[in-house]
Structures are given as structure tokens and as C-alpha cells.
Amino acid sequence: MSDDGAPVRVVGWGWFRLPGERGRLARAEAAARRAVEAVRQPAEATAGEAGDAGAPAHTDALTGLPNRPQFLSQLARLLDEAPRRLWVFLLDLDGFKAVNESRGQQAGSELLIQVADRLRAVLPASSGLARVAGDAFAFTYAGMEAGAQRLAEQVTAQFDRPFPVAGGELTAGASVGMVPASEESDAASLLRDAESAMHRSKAQGGGGVAVFEPSMRVDSVPEPSALTALAEGRLGVTYQPVLRLSDGRLLGAEAVVRWRHPVHGVMAEGAFLMSTLDAPAVRYVGAWLRRDVLRRLAQWRSDGTVDDDFAMSVTVASVELDDPDFLAGLAGDLERFDVPARAVIFEVPAPEAEALARLSALGVRVLVDAWDAERSAIASLRRLPVAGLTLHRVDDEDYLRELATVAREGAKQLRATGIATHAQRDRLAAFGFQEGQGPLWDRALSPERFAARWGGGVRPG
């Protein structure tokens, strides 16, 4: 008898069907799975308890699910037995860090337990559901792609309903990455590929499902990768004020990525971080950075922390400008957060003029990093379709003079960074620099501290 579940056959005449037969079999299958699962779980728990003595724990204490090593072990066994038509899924909660920060870790734990319960309910017993990281769950599916897609949709649909957490209701989303196994696959690489696909889903706004493609692979990113850091909430954004040199008025801020690296400590230089990542990772981190910054800017504009003239600067890498989806994504983000394009300044390395023209045409201001330009190519900067130039080196007088001339002739604004003394500020102002930032005024601050210190455009005494 052909139905989608566990196969049974009619003992006598099985060549015809009666009305309602499919429904009867579906009810029977559901009851049978409940019964088998009810017997199986206590048995596994008992076996786990018996095996705990002296053996490493294979179960996540919070959710009761298998942990990452156990999942990888089970996945490796599945791959040994039958790798064909096996799919690996990685599900990561969107905005879990915000839940922990706003409602406390207890609420975060409650949310994880409830997510685990809902996943248990929707996934078959053989899925091998496991909690493989803080807010990441993994599972497998054996079957065709259509079935895998259906399962992923069923899983994401579990997040349509809010979660009752800490006496209130919490709406949570999840991004899912899925990858098919092949004869050459190993468990670790499959999980990594599923993670890459999950990050693609997150970069596209989250709450969706992405199927892995080789272009998503981020093998070259050193461990722990920035993508992992992003998923685990270890990447943050800080804001350094940008001021008018003549009177110290607040003009805007520059957003700087801050990475709490487990080995290297806090790394807080956006340009450096971007330069250490490969192209796909840069795109993911860049998309996340822009959205975070635009969300923050929209919030500050609405609550009066900054005025309408306040402009937020964000670093953009060359590979992002080469991305054909970049401009469309940016326009969508501006619209989504209701931020006017003139309130955003992109700092870019000196790429080709065509890419800059497209960016400027969108309405955002573009500053080119003059430091990245060859000394001999400074003269060509005046012809670039950008609003101005930024400079990180403030002590080379010849260079400053040359740059000031180029800016004057090309009607470009000039911004200097890293200003530490009053003398530097006065000299830059004398050369024609209009705006600057640096430790003379303030370092890069967390959003909360920035709002407290610079809210309303008042320079702190």
C-alpha cells in the first residue's frame, strides 16, 4: 500500500483503496510514532545516564538534545552507511543576543528550550536533532530535495507563533541553511557548509531558508571565523564622533566594527577586519553592518538623539561594490529603515569610477580613502564622482598640501581621522580640512555611550 509513511500492506486484496483510507493510515502512523517515541526516549535517557559515568557528556544539559560532537558522530555514521539523498540542516535563531540582553539569560534559556520542543514535535525521530552551538540546532533528512525543502518550511513555520517566555510573549525568527551530502562529504564539512548557507539566509534578512552553493563556502576564513562571531553575537558596532574642525560641531559618526576575538582580544578597526576576510564573508559582515547602522541611525533620528543633519559613515569594501546585488540591497535597506540617503556616508577604498558613480547616483555621499591611493594617483582623485576624501595620515605636510590642492580643485570635502592633538587639528584646518575625528574628542563608543555623551549634538565638556 503506497503512502508516504511507514509502509504497510493489506493482507488480502490490496489493489484497491476505500474512501478515507489515507486518513486512517495517517492517523495510525501518527499514533504509532508517538508510541515508539514515548518508549524510545526514556530508554535513551536511561542508557545515557548509565553511560555517563566516566564518559564525556553527549547531551546538551539545557535542552536534552544531543550536542555537537554527538551530532557529528551520528552524521558520520549516516554518511558511512548511505550518503545519498541525505540533507543536513543548520538552524540559527535570529536576534538571540538581543533576547539575552533585553530580557536576561533566563529568558534566553527558556526560549531555547521551547524552540527545542517545537523542533522535536515537527521533526521525525530519525532526524538526529541536536543543539550544536549557543542558539544553533542541526538535524538531518533523508529524501529528495522537495521533501527537504518542505521540511525546512515546516521548521521555519514553527516560529510564526510567539514563544511564551518570562511571563510575556516573544517573537523569534530563525535562519536555516541546508546542504545535500555527497559521496565525498564528511560530517564536519557538511555542517560547515550548512552554516555558510545559514549565514547567507541571515545576510538576506533572516527568517528564511538557503540551500548551500559552493560560492557560499568560507573555508579560508580562519577559525573562529568572523561569521561565527557574527552568529554568536561577538561582533558589535561602535561609533566615533565626526566633528567640524572650525567650531567642534558634531556632524556625524563613523561606525566601526568591534570584534571580541577569543584569542586576539578586542579588534576594533573596521577596515582591518574587512581586509582579513574573503569576499563572501565580507559581503555577509558588510550587509549586517549596514543594517545594524541604519537601524541605529533610524532610532537616533526618531528619538532626537541626533538631528537631521547628522550623517553616519560606514566603511564599504571593494568586493561589496563589485557585488551586483549591493545597490539593490542598499536601496532596500534605506527604504526599510526610512533613512534618507543623504544621512549616510560610505567610505570606500579607491575603486573604479563607474562603481562610485552608481553609488553616488543613489544619493548617498561617498568618501574615498585617500590613503589607499598611490601617491602618484592623487591627482586623479579630483575626477572621481565622490563627495570627498578621507585621510588617516595627518603628519606628512607635503602629502596634506597636495591632497588639499586636489580637493580644492575638485570641490571635494576633506576629512581627517586619528586627530590626537590641538596642533594637528589646527594644521589640518589650515590646509582646508573641514571635518575630522580622533582621540582628541572621543574614541569609538558603544551606541548607548555615544547617545549619552553626544546626544543632541552637544560636545561633552
Binding site: 500500500m1 509513511g5 511507514a6 509502509p7 504497510v8 500492506r9 493489506v10 493482507v11 488480502g12 476505500l18 483510507e21 486512517r24 493510515l25 492517523r27 495510525a28 502512523e29 499514533a31 504509532a32 510514532r33 508510541a35 515508539v36 518508549v39 524510545r40 526514556p42 530508554a43 551520528q74 555514521r77 549516516l78 552507511e81 548511505a82 550518503p83 545519498r84 539523498r85 541525505l86 525521530a125 530519525s126 538531518t140 533523508a142 529524501g143
Partner: protein, 146 residues
């Protein structure tokens, strides 16, 4: 060695399957037997004199009784686990030994739970068919006696 819950469940499922199979077979046997008795009465009634109203009525009722027999046979959809298919699915779906065992148990229990409904339907059909057979016999007997 003590029996595990899974093993106990399997034994119970086997027993339930056997009982369900027997109930369905008994129902078909009863239906056929009742139709046979009713048919004999109708045949006897038809041999006495020319066919008249009650004879025709009993004949039509007998026809419906035979249809009832077919219904009892048709609703007997007692199923059992298709072990061969489960084993072949193992390769396709990449099940481990443990998963395979679980799926075999699911198939077995699925058959049991499905058969519960089937047996209820068979009993219902049998009850209806027995009423028809009884009515056929009563009408045939009345024809003989009048």
C-alpha cells in the same frame, strides 16, 4: 534477561495483529454462513407454488444480503507491516540500525492502529449484513407458512 518496553510492545502488537486478523476472518465466515442459510430458505420458498409477493421480496433481500457479504469482504482491509519495503527504504533514507528498528516498529504499530478501525468497520458491515440475512430468512419463512 528482563524484557524491554520495546520488546513488550512488539509482542503486544503481534498479538493484536493476530486477533484482528481472526476477527476479520470470523466476520467474513459468519456473513457467508448467514447468507447461505438465508439463501436456502429463499430457495425453499421459491419451490413452493408460483412466486408471489413475499417470494419476490425475499429474493431481493437475498440479493442485498449477498451484497452485504461482498461489503464485509471489501471493508476487510487488515494490514501488516511491509518489512521488505522498510528494508529497501533503509538504503534510500540512510537509516542506521537503530533507526531501522524504530521504523519497523512504527510500521508494525501503524498496522495495528489502522486495523483497529478496520475491524470496527468490518463489525459494522457484518451487523448490517446479518440484519439483512435475518430479514431475508424471516420473509422467506413467512412465504412458506402462508
Amino acid at each position: 534477561m528482563a524484557q524491554t518496553p520495546e520488546e513488550w510492545l512488539e509482542v503486544q502488537a503481534d498479538r493484536a495483529l493476530a486477533r484482528q486478523r481472526a476477527q476479520a476472518d470470523t466476520a467474513k465466515l459468519l456473513a457467508t454462513f448467514a447468507a447461505g442459510v438465508a439463501g436456502a430458505l429463499v430457495a425453499t420458498a421459491l419451490q413452493v407454488g408460483a412466486p408471489e409477493g413475499l417470494d419476490w421480496a425475499s429474493a431481493w433481500l437475498l440479493l442485498m444480503t449477498f451484497v452485504g457479504v461482498l461489503a464485509v469482504i471489501a471493508v476487510d482491509r487488515v494490514a501488516e507491516a511491509d518489512h521488505d519495503k522498510v528494508l529497501s527504504l533503509r538504503v534510500v533514507r540512510g537509516w542506521s540500525q537503530e533507526d531501522l528498528l524504530a521504523e519497523l516498529r512504527v510500521a508494525e504499530l501503524k498496522a495495528v492502529y489502522s486495523n483497529d478501525e478496520v475491524v470496527r468497520a468490518v463489525r459494522g458491515a457484518l451487523a448490517l449484513q446479518l440484519l439483512l440475512a435475518l430479514a431475508t430468512g424471516v420473509v422467506a419463512a413467512a412465504s412458506l407458512l402462508t
